[in-house]
Symmetry: D2
Subunit: 333 residues, 4 copies
Amino acid sequence: MMQTTRGRLSIVVVGVLLLGLCGTRARAQMMTPSGSQWWPSPWGATDEAGASNRMTPEKVLEAVKLIQTGKVYRLGRVYEHGMPLRGQRNYKLTLPTVPTGGPFGENKLVFNDEMVCGELGQVGTQFDGLGHIGVLVGKEGDLNAARFYNGFTAAEMTSPYGLKKLGIEKVKPFFTRGVLLDIAGYKGRMLEKGEEITAADVQGAMSKQGVGDIRPGDAVLFNTGWGSLWMKDNARFDSGTPGIGLEVAKWLVEKQVAYVGSDTWPTEVNPNPNPNLRGVVHIELITKSGIFNHENLDFTELIRDQVYEFAYIFVPVPLKGATGSPGSPIAVR
Amino acid sequence: MMQTTRGRLSIVVVGVLLLGLCGTRARAQMMTPSGSQWWPSPWGATDEAGASNRMTPEKVLEAVKLIQTGKVYRLGRVYEHGMPLRGQRNYKLTLPTVPTGGPFGENKLVFNDEMVCGELGQVGTQFDGLGHIGVLVGKEGDLNAARFYNGFTAAEMTSPYGLKKLGIEKVKPFFTRGVLLDIAGYKGRMLEKGEEITAADVQGAMSKQGVGDIRPGDAVLFNTGWGSLWMKDNARFDSGTPGIGLEVAKWLVEKQVAYVGSDTWPTEVNPNPNPNLRGVVHIELITKSGIFNHENLDFTELIRDQVYEFAYIFVPVPLKGATGSPGSPIAVR
Amino acid sequence: MMQTTRGRLSIVVVGVLLLGLCGTRARAQMMTPSGSQWWPSPWGATDEAGASNRMTPEKVLEAVKLIQTGKVYRLGRVYEHGMPLRGQRNYKLTLPTVPTGGPFGENKLVFNDEMVCGELGQVGTQFDGLGHIGVLVGKEGDLNAARFYNGFTAAEMTSPYGLKKLGIEKVKPFFTRGVLLDIAGYKGRMLEKGEEITAADVQGAMSKQGVGDIRPGDAVLFNTGWGSLWMKDNARFDSGTPGIGLEVAKWLVEKQVAYVGSDTWPTEVNPNPNPNLRGVVHIELITKSGIFNHENLDFTELIRDQVYEFAYIFVPVPLKGATGSPGSPIAVR
Amino acid sequence: MMQTTRGRLSIVVVGVLLLGLCGTRARAQMMTPSGSQWWPSPWGATDEAGASNRMTPEKVLEAVKLIQTGKVYRLGRVYEHGMPLRGQRNYKLTLPTVPTGGPFGENKLVFNDEMVCGELGQVGTQFDGLGHIGVLVGKEGDLNAARFYNGFTAAEMTSPYGLKKLGIEKVKPFFTRGVLLDIAGYKGRMLEKGEEITAADVQGAMSKQGVGDIRPGDAVLFNTGWGSLWMKDNARFDSGTPGIGLEVAKWLVEKQVAYVGSDTWPTEVNPNPNPNLRGVVHIELITKSGIFNHENLDFTELIRDQVYEFAYIFVPVPLKGATGSPGSPIAVR
C-alpha cells in the first residue's frame, strides 16, 4: 500500500485496508472515541497554529479599544517550590552558587544564573498547546493511532527532543478581547469539585456582569473560586475541580473563541459527571477545535476591581517542540 | 556594632569600622570599582522592581496610541538545540515518551509533557533581571561584598533555591513605547565585534528613521545585524559583539528608559574598547540604574516593514528567585 | 483475537493474523532484521537480568583467587564538562550556592548539595543495560514492533518515568574474572576508526599476554588506544571508532561471557565495514544474548602494570527504569 | 599581608590580623564551634581523600579473606519516584520517547536513553563525600569562614559547576572489611527517633554477634530497623531517626574506621539529645576525621542470613566536584 507522507491510520481505515480498497489518506468521516473525525482543520490540513489564527490585526484593534485606563493586571502565578503539581510532574530552580561568575575586569562584575528543571509547559500556570492532548483512535502502542489537532498522529509528532508537529513555537501571540466570567461571583460562593458550569450559569454571569456577547477570537476566562486553595490546601485543590463541561465547551467552539482559561488546573469539571469520560473538554477544545487552554490563572485583582472585559495578551515561550508554555498573561483595560 | 538588618559592609565601611566610628548603615557616597555608590534607588531602599516602576497607566496609554494597524511582531527567538550558549550554560528539552499519559476514559484521552533543563533565564532570547549582575565592592568570597541593584548584597540574596531579593517575579509587566534603532541600517552594514555604537550613531539613526525623541519608560532596541549569525555561525556570534558602550548607556540612563534590547548576546560592545573593563554597560544599566536588558532579539520583520516605533510588550515568566526570564516580547503597531 | 499479556506481534505474526490462523503467542522461529528470533532467553521468558545471571557464587570465588596483591584499579572516567557526548546528550552538574544549607545549631553545621541533569546512563563511562538496545521487527511507530532482550516489546516497556521492563535495577552486581585484551599493545599502535578487531587479533593478543582462555561469566575488555583521544580530540574520538565486529561478538556469545568493555564509546567498530549495518554488535551482545557492554573505560594503569587478568567488580546504580548506569568498575589483582 | 594560596582566615586569625602580626597560614590550635582546629589532616595539608587513604592493598587482602561462599548482597536501595527526599531535594527520571533513536541501518537498531535530574549525590542511598559537610567558623556570608575537611574553606571550594576541592572523584574505591552491627536485633526492636545508640549498645551487639574488634579502615554499618519505614511511612521516616551520637562517633574515630553506614537518612541520631546541636556526628566523622558516611542502606538480606562480617565494596561515581555519590555498595562473604 502506498502510505501518504503523514502515514495516517485509524480503526476504520484498518478495516478498509484489510479489504485492499484504500490507497490514499482517508478524509471521509470516520468515527473515533470522541465522535466523528475532526480533521482537516478549518485552517487547512497542514495548520499547526489552531485558533491562534483568529489573532488578526482587526482583532487586535478591537482589543485595543478596551484599553481605557492603562491599568495592567498580571494573571499568572509565581512558579515556586510548594505549588501544586499533578502526578509525577516536577519543578525545581536552583542557583549555581552566588555569584555564579566573576569578578571580571577592573570593574569587578559578578553575575548569577539559575538552573531550572521540570515539565516546564505543564506546571503551575500553564498554557496547553495543541500537542498536549490527543485521542487514541486505534490500538494502544500504535503511534499512528493517537491523533491530535488536525489529525496529526503521534508517529508524525514523535521525537525524543521535542514535538516535530504542533510544538508551542507554532502558536501565534495572543492580543485579543478578554472576557472574565466570574461564576463564583454569580453564584455567591466557591464552586465545588465535580460541579459543572452550565450554559445557564454562563448566561447568568454574563447578564449580571453586563457582558453582551462572546465573539470570534475572544479569550474567555472562568473564575470558580477554586484557585483560592492554591498553596493553601494543595491536596484539596488537586483532588478534583469545578469547571466547564461539554455543554459549555461546545458553545465556546460555536462562538469560535480562541482561548479559554480558569483558576483551576484543568478548566474543565473533574471528575466529569459521566464517570466514563476523562478530559473531554480538553479534547473538544484543543484536539478537535484548536482552542487553547490556560490553567491555574489568578483573577483576584480583576475581580476586586470588577473588571470583566479587557485587552488580553499572552505570548507563549517558544520552546521548540514543547507541549505547553509557562508564563503570565496580562489583562489591560 | 549594630548591624542593620541588611548587614551591609564595603571596603570603605570596613576601614571606618576598624576605627570604631561607624554604627549605622553608610548611605554616604562611597567609591566602588564602578564609581560612586548607586543606592538607595530612586524608588526607595527596598525597591526590587527597578525601572519597571516606569510602567505607569499613562505610559500604557501612550504606547496604545502607537497601535494603528493591529499588526503583531514576535521578537523572541525559538529555544532549541544548537542555539548559541555562553560558557557552560545548557538548554535541553526532551519528551517523556510519546504519549506521556493515557489512554484515559472511554474517550481515550492521551497527553504529552516535556522535560526541560537548563539555565532558563540566561539562554537564548534572555531578559536580564536585576539579580543577574552585580559588582564586587570588597574582597572576593565575602558575600556582603558583592552588591547588586539598590545595594542588595549577595549575602542578602543568597539561597540555593532562588534569589531572596531581586528575583524576576518582582518585575512589573512591560507595556510601553518601543523604539528600534537600526544602527546596521544607518551604517549600511552589519557592525563588527568590538565596534561601539556611539551617541552620534544613535542620533544619526534617529534622524534617518524620523524618531523624534527617547522618553522616560521607553524600551530602546538596537539592531546591529550581528543577530544574522545566529545558528549560522555560532562561533563567530559568540566570539564578541558590537554594541553600545558607556557613552550611550549613560545617555539611556539620563533619558530614564526602562528597558534596552538588541540582537546580540550582551547588548553592549564586547570586548570593550577599554580592555580592563567587562560588562560595564550591564553594571551601568542594570546594577546602578535598574534598567532591564533583553538579549538575542530578532528584528528581521520590523526592519523589513520599516517599523521603528510601536507598542512594546513583555511579561517576564515569574520563576521565583530567577535571575532572568525566557520568553518573547512583541511589538504591535 | 486473544492477546497474550505481553501482546506480542511481529511481521510474520501479522501475516498469519490476517489469515485468522493465529491465536497464541508465536514462539516458533521467525525472521527479524537481525536474523532468527532470539527469545525466550536461556534464563526463561520472564528474565530481565540477562548474562548477569552468570554471576554465581562459584564465579565470585574464581575471581577472588585472582586477587594476590590487593591493588585496586579504577577503570571509569570522571564525569565532567567537556567530555565527549554523543548526539544531543547532555551532562551538567551545578552546586546550588555554596554552602547549600546552614549554619544549623550551635555547632554551625553547613552543607553542600549538587544538582545534576543529563542522560545519566548514557554519558561518559556508561554501562549499557538491556533496555538500551532493541530491533525494529515490524513497522516504525508500532511499539509492539520494537523488540529488546528476551523479546520484550517497546509497548511492554513504555513509560514516561522509566522502563517497566529491563530497567538497570534488574541487573545483578558483577564480581567476576576480568580479562583485558590489549589489542593496541599487540599491534604496537592505536587502532584506527573503522578498523575491526578480528578473531585472529584476539588470539594473538591472548597468546602474547599469556591469557589461556575465556570462560563463561567473564568480563572481557578491549583496549584499542582510541581512549587516548578522550578530551584531547573529542571530534576525532566521536567521528568513529575501532572495535570488535560480528566475528568477535559471536565468539564472545559462544564463550558465554557476561560482559564486554572497551576504551571507546561503542566497543564495536564504527562505521561497520558493511555500510548497511549499524550497531550490530550491540544487538548481538545486548539484545540477543543479554551480554552487557561498558563503554569509555580507561585502562591506562592496568596496561602500565601489565595486568591482564583480575577480579572485576561493577555494581550498576539502580536508577529504576534506566537504560544504563554511570559509575566506575574496578579491577583488583 | 601576604595571603597563602588557600587564603585562610578565621575568627582568631582576623583578630591577629588586625594587629598586623600574622603573615602566614595559622596552623596553631584555634577554637571553632566544633572545638579545636581539625586541620591539617593526618594525610597532609593538601589531602582530599580522607579516610579512603586507609584503603591499602593490605586492607584489601584482609577483606578478601572474608569471602568464603561467594555470595553477594546488594545494600543500596533503588532510586525511584516516591522515595523519601529531604527538604527541597528532588529526583526525577524520564525516558525521552520510546525508543529514543532509530531505526538505524538494515538491521534496524533502536535505542533508549533516560533523562535524570536531581541532587544526585544526596538523594536515596547516598554516600556523603568530604565536600558535603562543613562548619561555619566565622561570620555567615564570608566564604572563608565555612571550613570543611582538612580546613578547606568554602571560598577555596566555591564554583558554580562543582567543588574545586573535595569533589567525590577524589575518593578512593572502598574494598575493605565490613562489619554490620545489628542494634535493632540486639535490642529486639526497631529503635525510635531520637534514640541514641550508645557505646554500651555497640559492645552488646558486638558480643551477641561474635564480632571481636573494629580495626583501622573498616566499614561499620548500623542497623536500627528504621529503614523498614522506607516508602512505607515516609513522613515518619523523615521526621527524625535513631542513630549514633558523639560518644560512638568518637569511638569510631579512635578506631580509625574509614566508613560508616546505616539504614537511616543521617546515620546519626536526630534530633540530637542536646537540642542545640545539629549534625555533630557528621562534623566529627566527615569534617574533622575524613570518615565517610553512607545513608539509607538496606541490610534486610544480611540480617536474614545473619551475616555480620564481610568484604565490603563501594566505588563512588566520580561526578567531578560532587558532594556525594549515588550507587549501591555490596557485601561479599
